[in-house]
Amino acid sequence: MSFVTISHLRVRYGKFEAVKDISFEIPKGELFGFIGPNGAGKSSTIKVLATLLKPSGGTVTIGGVDVVKNPAKIRRNIGYVPDFFGVYEDLTVREYLHFFAAAYEIERGKREGLIGDALALTDLGGKIDAPVDGLSRGMKQRLSLARVLLHDPELLLLDEPASGLDPRARIEMRELLKELQRLGKTIIISSHILHELAQLCTRIGIIEAGQMMAEGPLEEIFRRLNLMRVVHVQLVNPTDALIAAIRAMPGISGVEPQADRLAIQWREGELAVEDLHDAIHKLGGRIRMFQPEALDMETAFMKLTEGKTA
């Protein structure tokens, strides 16, 4: 059962069509990565979901509620974090969160507790009386996330949440998002930093020039594209005969002996990674290490978008 349904969505700015007839569905509890170059239409799609933009065509529903017909109901069920955070610099962290607690009409008695929980989750508990303009970029980003957690929305919309963050803040953000997913939130996250989404998302959608190029679970997309993958294998007995036998296996495109290991390139569509492991074992190879490389999303992205960027 899909939680977010986008059907034939079109977004137009004057004569320019930013989103051209895209359709996809996101099941509940998924962490959906929206990938595309700048100007591809990611933010426009997210803004439609956040009720900030009216679509030129198509229908968009969240939890079965139409975003155009019932935006007020949608707003209580979503949390939107723009790439520029949108924080009031003249308030303290406490005032800022109370501001949004009042905006979401949260009961007065529950506010302190909810704010404490959100700050604990985002690791900002010690900053409760700090002025917002004194926070670092990473902290402001976490504060934005604390804000959207106050009213416990089912869907989080994060537009380029990691842009401008240092590596530590990115890792913290990633861990926080995984935690939120564990809490059962459906999360849509847009980014053009591909490897970041590869480590995080359960599903991805690749958008380019307003059109959805591919959508689905990561493995499925790789399988569909029949992309080359690499596995690093450390053998106790790496003889020339064994290497030649591995090279001759169906689905193997190359074996590159390295200092302490073999880098084996294989096509996942033709040979599953488990079968590769079994085949090497059957050939007499004594395996000390077997480590497939992370999915190469850059290659997938470039292949799908034919190297074009906006």
């Binding site: 930013a18 933010s43 900030l52 933009l53 949108g86 009031y88 308030l91 905006a103 979401y104 303009d133």
Partner: protein, 588 residues
């Protein structure tokens, strides 16, 4: 080959103006530049036609206009001069503050461009575009000149004064823009300084006469200083017969010396401020001072064992932030800000009333009322135009719009802060009126009309500014729009009506309503009162008579109209908020 090399070396020797080029290209590529030029050209044509008809009367167009070119040129000059005084600050005050708000000024200062070069190019960008607008009047000047009655020297003086005012106001606006942190502050401060600069020395000179009743050093100083206002400096020369010789040139230069000197002074100040005040990311100085006072009082409270409770939003969070976290809308801060202002105002009024003669006291009281009303309106206009634009600039509007608060509620809650400021300003206006009445400068009826006018005008202008802020994507655009609309309403309506009266009515009786006061005049008066300026001037000149069976028929009907207008503007703003606030700033 040699010629080509010469050309190349000449091109290298020429200083480059990349910022000026960018500014001019931006102005040239905007559609609204041409719309504004066409509208201004049409307004000039209308003003010229009115002046022509006023001068012609029932005469023969072929013969009776001969020798009357001077009058036509003077009218054109007046229109252009008022236009420069009103629009130049609006166009220029934001040029550097916008860069500060976008964070791009620091980047510009890191380029090889010198700070003075930056100031100069920014200034020239606005001066050149204003000159292009002034050139729209050239064909009309040539027509007027062709009628005769105007020497070349006077025509030269008209053009010289216009260019000088243009340069001076551009330099002043740039200096203020380099000093200020926000466009709203720059916009208000530029107009205030313009008024002080142009009116201040002249008023001080007159006051010195009134106080001392004889010539003194102070009077001479203020007389000399009043030359900083180009129109004041050349006022005596416009009517004279002049000859174009060395004496004339020297005379022009010496007369305009204070104004000429002020231009480099303002530019140097801008050069100084643009570097020293390039990165003003902190809050405004009033807010910092007030927060410091708050913290001090809290520490004192803590010492005596009193704990102050936290002020947190319980409901209507947008209104809470506007009323508690902004320097000009918090009650406590408003009191701290306005008590000194009220005290100074009362002291000044008492001093003037005691020391100057009756006629001058009347004039000063009137001026105090208009100054407070005008500066209050200006402040509210600037704040109103920036009400929504501020949320857009700080990119907080999108976040706010994804909460359950509707755009109408956002607007209503934000406007609550302006209502409080309106109240404080209104109190100051009413104070001047009460003092007028108390000192016997004005009768109760006129005081009542003035007070009622202030009560309805301030919200009307505020809501016009709010509407401009909602519709315009940028704060500067909103401010320019609100200045144009206000000018058309304030000055355009009386000008047009006087023109229509002179063309279609009995122009010889235009100034003598007391001779005959029938239905047509009542209607005409009501039309005049459709402009705030018209209403207030008629009130000051005792022109209201019995109309529609009431002693104050015309002002009553006019003020009721303004009340309806206020409600309509408020409803329109709320309606537009629903449609325009979701206008996205960027898309991906």
């Amino acid at each position: 080959m040699i010629a080509g090399r010469r050309k190349l070396s000449f091109a290298r020797a020429m200083p480059s103006f990349p910022l000026l080029g960018k500014e001019l290209l931006e102005i040239a590529s905007r559609r609204r530049t041409y719309v504004i030029r066409v509208v201004l050209a049409l307004l000039l044509l209308v003003a010229f036609a009115i002046a022509y008809q006023q001068e012609l009367g029932d005469g023969d167009p072929l013969f009776d206009m001969i020798g009357k070119g001077g009058f036509l040129c003077l009218r054109l000059f007046e229109c252009l001069f008022i236009g420069v005084c009103v629009f130049m600050p609006a166009m220029t005050a934001g040029v550097i503050t916008v860069e500060k708000e976008q964070g791009s000024l620091v980047l510009l200062l890191l380029t090889p461009m010198s700070p003075f070069g930056l100031v100069l190019q920014k200034c020239l960008g606005r001066v050149l575009s204003t000159m292009a607008i002034l050139m729209l009047a050239l064909p009309l000047f040539s027509i007027a000149y062709a009628y005769g009655g105007l020497d070349v020297e006077t025509l030269f003086l008209f053009i010289y004064v216009l260019i000088l005012t243009c340069l001076q106001l551009a330099a002043l606006s740039i200096a203020v823009s380099a000093w200020c942190r926000t466009s709203t502050g720059a916009f208000c401060l530029t107009y205030i300084l313009e008024a002080v600069l142009y009116m201040g020395p002249y008023l001080m000179e007159q006051l010195s006469y009134s106080f001392y009743q004889s010539s003194s050093g102070g009077i001479h100083f203020w007389k000399l200083a009043s030359g900083i206002f180009p129109l004041q400096a050349f006022r005596q020369q416009f009517g004279r017969t002049l000859s174009f010789d060395l004496d004339f040139v020297c005379d022009v230069l010496t007369t305009s010396l204070p104004a000429l000197l002020s231009i480099p002074v303002f530019l140097l100040l801008a050069r100084l401020f643009i570097v020293r005040r390039a990165d003003l990311s902190g809050s405004n100085p009033f807010l910092r001072l007030f927060r410091f006072l708050d913290a001090t009082f809290q520490r004192l409270d803590a010492r005596i064992g009193r704990t102050s409770s936290l002020e947190l939003p319980l409901m209507n969070p947008v209104a809470w932030r506007e009323l508690n976290r902004r320097s000009l809308s918090n009650w406590r801060y408003l009191v701290r800000l306005f008590v000194p202002v009220y005290s100074v105002a009362i002291l000044a009024m008492v001093l003037f009333s005691v020391n100057v003669d009756r006629e001058w006291a009347d004039t000063l009281q009137s001026m105090a009322y208009y100054a407070v009303l005008a500066s209050g309106t200006l402040a509210l206009m600037a704040l109103g135009a920036g009400l929504i634009a501020g949320e857009r600039t700080h990119q907080t509007l999108d976040v706010l719009l994804t909460t359950p608060i509707s755009p109408r509620q956002i607007l209503t809650q934000k406007a609550s802060a302006l209502r409080r400021i309106q109240g404080a300003l209104l109190a100051l206006v009413l104070l001047t009126i009460w003092f007028d009445y108390y000192m016997g400068h004005m009768d109760a009826t006129r005081c009542l009309v003035r007070a009622a006018a202030a009560v309805v005008f301030l919200p009307c202008f505020t809501w016009i500014a709010i509407i401009c802020g909602i519709v315009s994507p940028r704060r500067n655009q909103a401010m320019i729009a609100v200045v144009i609309i206000s000018m058309i309403w304030l000055a355009g309506v009386p000008l047009l009506l006087s023109g229509l009266e002179s063309i279609f009515g009995d122009h010889r009786n235009y100034y003598y309503y007391n001779d005959y006061y029938g239905r047509e005049e009542t209607f005409f008066h009501a039309l005049q009162a459709s402009s705030p300026v018209g209403l207030l001037l008629m009130n000051d000149d005792h022109e209201f008579r019995v109309a529609w069976g009431m002693e104050l028929g015309v002002p009553f009907v006019a003020l009721s109209g303004y009340l309806v207008l206020w409600m309509c503007l408020r409803a329109t703003a709320r309606d537009l908020a629903g449609r325009f606030l979701r206008r996205s700033v960027s898309h991906g």
